[in-house]
C-alpha cells in the first residue's frame, strides 16, 4: 500500500526541487529560500533511503535512487541545467524494478509522469500567479521600479472610491447585460429557422459562422471603417452624414427618452452611442458561435416531442414556445455562462476601435482599465486589485446565474 506512493512521491520531490531551483534564479518569491532548499536537500536522500527499503532491490534501482539522492542533495549547488538529474534517477529506479512491481504501482508511476508536464505548467502559469496577483495587490504601487511597501487593503479602498473604476464597471455591466441576451436571442431565432429543414443549410451556416473565426482585430478595423463619420457605409445607409458613432459619448437610454422629456444621467443614461456601436459589432462577431451551438442543441431534441405536440394540435409557435425553448434551456444556459465570462473580459474590439477609451472614457471597460493601469501607468498593484475584484465579481455572478437560472433549466429529454 505505502509502496504505491513511492514513485509519485519521488517524482513530486524531483519536480518541485526543479521548480524551486528555477524560482531562485529570478527572485520572484522572497521566501526563506535557504530553509526550503535545505529541506529539499535533506528530503531527497531520506526519500531515496526509504524507497530503497520499500522497492524490490536491483542494481539499476539502487543506481537510480542514488542518482536521485545525489541530485536532490546537490540541489542548491548544481546548475539549473542539471535539474533533470533527479528525474532521470526516478526513471532509472522505475526501469530497474519494473519487472517486479504490481500493476498498481506502475499505474501510479505512469499516471504521475503523464500528468506532471500539464500540472507543472498550470502551477507556474495559472495557480501560482493567481495567488501572486492577490499578494501584490496588497502593496503600494509594486512595479520593480520604485520602493514598495505592504499597505493591506488600501488599493481596494482606493478602488472603491475610484470614479473611473465605477465608470468602467458600469460600462462593462451594460455590455454584459445587452450583448449576452441579444446574442442568445438572435442566435436562437437563426438556429430555429435553420432547423426548419431548409435548402442551403450549409451555405447559411457558413455565412453566419464566418465572422466568429475572423480575428477581432481585423473585424474591428472593418467596423471602424463602416462607422466612419464622413465616408462610412452606415452613415450613407441611414442618411446621417457626419455622425461620428465612435466618438459620441451620449447614453442611448438618455437619447431615446429625451424626446419624452425624461432626463437621464450617469449610470441610467445607459451605454454611450460609441459603446453601443461596439456592442453591435460584437454581437455580429459572436452570433455564429451561438448559432452553431444552439443548432446542435436543437438537433439533439428527439422528434417524438414534436410529433406528440402536433397530435395535440399545437401550432408552430406553440411548439417553439413549449417544446423547443424548454428543451433547449441547457444549451441556452451554457451559452449564458460562457457569454457572461467572456463578455466581462472584453478588450480587443474596444481597444482597436477606441484606443483611448473613447470620449470621456465612455467605452472604458474593466479589462481595458486594467491594461491601462498595469501597462501604461506601471501600477501592477492597483491593476492586480482590479483583476482580483473582477475575478470575485465574475465568480459571484456565475454562482448567482447558476442558482437563478438552473432551476428553470430542463435537463431531461
Amino acid at each position: 500500500m505505502v509502496r504505491t506512493y513511492v514513485f509519485p512521491g519521488l517524482l513530486a520531490l524531483a519536480v518541485f526541487s526543479g521548480l524551486l531551483h528555477l524560482s531562485t534564479q529570478f527572485e520572484i518569491v522572497r521566501a526563506p529560500m535557504g530553509a526550503l532548499f535545505l529541506a529539499f536537500a535533506l528530503a531527497g536522500p531520506v526519500a531515496a533511503y526509504l524507497a530503497a527499503r520499500l522497492l524490490p532491490a536491483g542494481a539499476w534501482t539502487r543506481l537510480g535512487l542514488a542518482l536521485f539522492a545525489a541530485g536532490m542533495a546537490a540541489g542548491f549547488w548544481i546548475p539549473p541545467a542539471l535539474d533533470w538529474l533527479p528525474l532521470a534517477g526516478v526513471f532509472l529506479a522505475y526501469a530497474g524494478s519494473r519487472a517486479r512491481l504490481p500493476e498498481r504501482d506502475a499505474a501510479a508511476f505512469w499516471g504521475w509522469v503523464f500528468v506532471w508536464p500539464a500540472l507543472a505548467l498550470m502551477l507556474i502559469w495559472n495557480i501560482f500567479p493567481s495567488f501572486f496577483a492577490l499578494w501584490i495587490s496588497l502593496f503600494d504601487r509594486f512595479n520593480y521600479i520604485g520602493e514598495s511597501r505592504f499597505v493591506g487593503l488600501l488599493n481596494y479602498e482606493i478602488l472603491w472610491r475610484d470614479p473611473l473604476f465605477w465608470r468602467a464597471l458600469s460600462n462593462t455591466f451594460w455590455y454584459v447585460v445587452l450583448t449576452v441576451p441579444t446574442g442568445i436571442l438572435l442566435g436562437t431565432v437563426v438556429a430555429v429557422l435553420l432547423n426548419e429543414r431548409i435548402r442551403g443549410l450549409g451555405l447559411y451556416r457558413t455565412i453566419y459562422f464566418l465572422p466568429y473565426i475572423t480575428a477581432l482585430t481585423a473585424a474591428a478595423a472593418v467596423w471602424q471603417w463602416i462607422y466612419h463619420p464622413e465616408f462610412g457605409f452606415l452613415n450613407w445607409l441611414l442618411g446621417t452624414p457626419g455622425l461620428d458613432w465612435l466618438h459620441t459619448p451620449d447614453g442611448i437610454f438618455a437619447l431615446a427618452l429625451a424626446p419624452l422629456g425624461i432626463q437621464l444621467s450617469g449610470f441610467w443614461a445607459g451605454p454611450s452611442v460609441a459603446f453601443t456601436a461596439i456592442m453591435i459589432m460584437t454581437v455580429w462577431h459572436f452570433l455564429g458561435y451561438n448559432v452553431v451551438i444552439l443548432l446542435a442543441g436543437l438537433q439533439s431534441i428527439p422528434a417524438q416531442y414534436y410529433e406528440a405536440a402536433e397530435l395535440d394540435g399545437a401550432g408552430w409557435w406553440q411548439m417553439q414556445l413549449y417544446v423547443t425553448w424548454p428543451l433547449l434551456s441547457p444549451t441556452t444556459f451554457f451559452l449564458a455562462i460562457i457569454g457572461l465570462i467572456g463578455a466581462f473580459q472584453v478588450f480587443t474590439q474596444v481597444y482597436v476601435m477606441t484606443p483611448t477609451g473613447g470620449v470621456l472614457n465612455d467605452t472604458l471597460t474593466v479589462a481595458m482599465y486594467l491594461y491601462n493601469k498595469g501597462f501604461r501607468d506601471s501600477d501592477f498593484s492597483y491593476a492586480s486589485a482590479l483583476a482580483v475584484t473582477m475575478f470575485v465579481i465574475i465568480l459571484a455572478l456565475t454562482l448567482v446565474q447558476r442558482r437563478v437560472l438552473e432551476r428553470r433549466v430542463t435537463y431531461e429529454h
Binding site: P8, E27, I28, A107, A108, G111, W112, F114, A118, L119, M122, W125, N126, I127, S130, F132, A133, I136, V189, V190, L193, L194, T206, Y208, L210, P211, T214, L216, T217, A218, A221, V222, W223, Q224, W225, I226, H228, E230, F231, F233, W236, P241, G288, Y289, V292, I293, A296, G297, S300, T331, F334, Y351, A367, Y371, F375, F380, A387, V388, M390, F391
Partner: protein, 407 residues
C-alpha cells in the same frame, strides 16, 4: 389549399429572414474586400462605390497590356529601355495640349524615377497618347503619373482609369499611382503597398510559428494528461483533477500582471517563449480529450495490457490514433486562439520583429491613418489564412464548436 398556402408563406418568410440575416453577416466582408481594391479617392466617396474600378475586367486588360509594355504582364514594373503608351480620349482635342509629369516624392533632392522617364505626348485620333520611356538603367516597380487636361477639352476617358481626379485651376489633374501595374499589380495594388509598408511577412511568420508550436506542444501535453485522467488509476487523480477544474474559474485578466512579471524575471519578454510557453497547458484541451478517451471501450486497453503493452505504448499506439477527431478539434481551437489573440502578444512583445499579425495589424491601423484601402487590404491579409482554412476544413470547425458546447 389554405394549409398549403400557409406552408408556402411560412417558407418564404423563413428564407427571407435567413437571407436578410446572411446579407448583414456577410456585408462587412464584402465591404472590406471592396475597399481593399479601392483607390483612396474611391474609398472616400459620400455614396458607396459597389464595384471599384480595379475589379472590372475591362480595366484588367489594359493593366495587363501596360504591365507587359513596362516589364511583366502580371506584376508590371518599368524596365530600362521599355516604352509604355497610355491613351487618353478627350471630347475636344483642339482645346490644348496635355501636360504630364512623373511626380517626385515630397522632399527628395533627386528622384531617379522621374529623372529617367522621358515623356512624349502625341496626338492620336480622338485624343492623346502619353508615351513614357525609361531612359535610365534602373528598373522601377511602379511608375506614378500625373496628367493635366485643360477643362475646355470637355469630357475625357483614360484607358486606365485614374486613381484620383482633382480640379486645379483650368485643368483636371489626373493621378495614377502606377501606370505600369500589370494585372495583379493593378488589382492588388493596396495589398502590395501594405505588404511593403510594414513587415507583414515577419508578422505572419511569428503568428504561424507561435500558433503552430502552441498547437503541437499543447496537443502533446494535453494528450498525456487527458489519458492519465481517463485511463490510469493513480493515487491523487481526483485531487489533481479538481485542481484543474478550479483553474477554469480564473479569468485570464488575473494572470496578465503576474505572468508578465514572471516573464520579465525570466528575461523572456519579447521572445517566442513569452508568446508560447504560458499557453501550452490548456484545461479545455484536457477536458475535451479526456472525454474522448473515456468514450473508448475498456476492452481495447485490457487486450493491450494482456499483450504486454505499457501505458506509454497504450497511449500512443491505441488511444492517440482513435482520438484524432478530438485532437483536430483542440488543434483548431488552439490555433484560432493563438492566431487571433491580441491582448497577450500586445503586452509581452515590444519590438516589431516579435509582433504577431494581430499586433502588427493593430499597429498598422494606427500608422495607416486614413488610407482605408491599404488598411482593409492588411485586414484581409490578416484573416485570409484562417478563412481559407475554414473553407477547407469547414466540417471540422463547426463540429468542433458544436462539440465544445455539448458536455
Amino acid at each position: 389549399m389554405n394549409t398549403r398556402l400557409r406552408h408556402l408563406l411560412g417558407r418564404v418568410i423563413i428564407y427571407a429572414l435567413l437571407s436578410a440575416g446572411a446579407v448583414v453577416m456577410a456585408f462587412p466582408f464584402y465591404w472590406m474586400i471592396a475597399t481593399s481594391v479601392k483607390s483612396p479617392q474611391e474609398a472616400q466617396q459620400a455614396a458607396p462605390i459597389w464595384f471599384p474600378e480595379r475589379i472590372q475586367p475591362a480595366n484588367w486588360r489594359t493593366a495587363w497590356r501596360l504591365g507587359a509594355q513596362g516589364d511583366r504582364p502580371w506584376w508590371g514594373g518599368f524596365a530600362p529601355g521599355r516604352t509604355v503608351t497610355l491613351r487618353l480620349r478627350v471630347e475636344d482635342p483642339d482645346a490644348g495640349p496635355l501636360r504630364a509629369r512623373v511626380p517626385k516624392p515630397p522632399a527628395v533632392f533627386s528622384d531617379p524615377r522621374s529623372e529617367s522617364t522621358r515623356i512624349r505626348i502625341e496626338a492620336a485620333n480622338g485624343g492623346w497618347e502619353i508615351v513614357l520611356e525609361n531612359t535610365g538603367t534602373q528598373r522601377f516597380t511602379t511608375l506614378p503619373l500625373v496628367v493635366w487636361i485643360p477643362k475646355d477639352a470637355g469630357k475625357f476617358r483614360a484607358e486606365l482609369p485614374p486613381d484620383a481626379v482633382r480640379s486645379q485651376r483650368g485643368f483636371w489633374r489626373l493621378e495614377w499611382v502606377n501606370v505600369t501595374p500589370g494585372l495583379f499589380g493593378y488589382l492588388f495594388h493596396n495589398y502590395r503597398e501594405a505588404w511593403h509598408a510594414a513587415p507583414f511577412a515577419r508578422y505572419f511568420f511569428v503568428s504561424f510559428f507561435t500558433a503552430g508550436t502552441q498547437v503541437l506542444g499543447g496537443l502533446l501535453i494535453a494528450t498525456m494528461a487527458a489519458f492519465a485522467f481517463a485511463r490510469i488509476r493513480f493515487p491523487g487523480r481526483e485531487a489533481v483533477f479538481l485542481l484543474f477544474v478550479a483553474t477554469m474559474m480564473i479569468p485570464g485578466e488575473v494572470l496578465l500582471i503576474p505572468n508578465y512579471i514572471l516573464l520579465a524575471k525570466l528575461d523572456w519578454l519579447d521572445t517566442f517563449y513569452a508568446l508560447i510557453v504560458p499557453w501550452l497547458a490548456s484545461v479545455f484541451g484536457l477536458f475535451l480529450l479526456r472525454q474522448f478517451f473515456l468514450s473508448l471501450p475498456q476492452d481495447l486497453f485490457d487486450a493491450a495490457r494482456i499483450d504486454g503493452a505499457s501505458y506509454w505504448g497504450m497511449l500512443w499506439r491505441i488511444a492517440f490514433p482513435l482520438a484524432v477527431p478530438g485532437l483536430v478539434t483542440y488543434g483548431i481551437f488552439a490555433f484560432l486562439g493563438a492566431y487571433n489573440a491580441l491582448l497577450w502578444p500586445l503586452i509581452v512583445t515590444q519590438s516589431p520583429e516579435m509582433r504577431t499579425i494581430q499586433v502588427g495589424l493593430q499597429a498598422f491601423i494606427g500608422e495607416a491613418g486614413s488610407d482605408y484601402g491599404q488598411l482593409m487590404a492588411a485586414s484581409t491579409m490578416a484573416i485570409l489564412p484562417i478563412v481559407l482554412g475554414y473553407f477547407f476544413a469547414q466540417r471540422h470547425f463547426i463540429q468542433g464548436i458544436a462539440r465544445s458546447g455539448i458536455k
